[in-house]
Symmetry: C2
Subunit: 112 residues, 2 copies
Amino acid sequence: MTHPGNFFRDLPDARSGEVSDSFLSEHIVRIERIVSHGQASPPGFWYDQDEAEWVLLLTGAARLRFEDEGVERVLGPGDYLDIKAHRRHRVEWTDPTQPTVWLAVFYRAPRD
Amino acid sequence: MTHPGNFFRDLPDARSGEVSDSFLSEHIVRIERIVSHGQASPPGFWYDQDEAEWVLLLTGAARLRFEDEGVERVLGPGDYLDIKAHRRHRVEWTDPTQPTVWLAVFYRAPRD
């Protein structure tokens, strides 16, 4: 019996900095695992991405904010968001007590 | 605080048949949640898909076989596979005692 790759095995230690690993990289779609461990976006920093991003939090916890919303989104295991290209957002907080593992699917929508 | 959608909440009861739900559907990429509960592909049936599929098993257990391999792949939580377009495969078994939840990203690679 053949064993496949595992998304949760050999997680990097992200306490000293967020770690991204690519699981699929095609012209129109990229799948990444992002491991956070207490990181947040720098004060005043907003992500403003050319690609759309569908993101699923699998373990841990985070708070995310969109510039066009007054309130934070609170994310726990299973919570997902579809972030359109150039929708400005930032990570306000990730759990400092455990790894937060994200699955991110970056893609280019025809309208982008 | 705004709460996003959750991938694991309100799982469908799949005991009487596999259930697929779409979480993203763009021209070049689709994200689906597939819930199996004891199903297997019919005898002699092989999936032969026009799209490539990156699939991640999140809960439960399954056995999958590629026509071009002599052995089954045994899948548990976190195990993932990238199934190229038209690579024939079948699901030999999914756990009958619990839901098996898959995240499937269907995409069209330039080479397809």
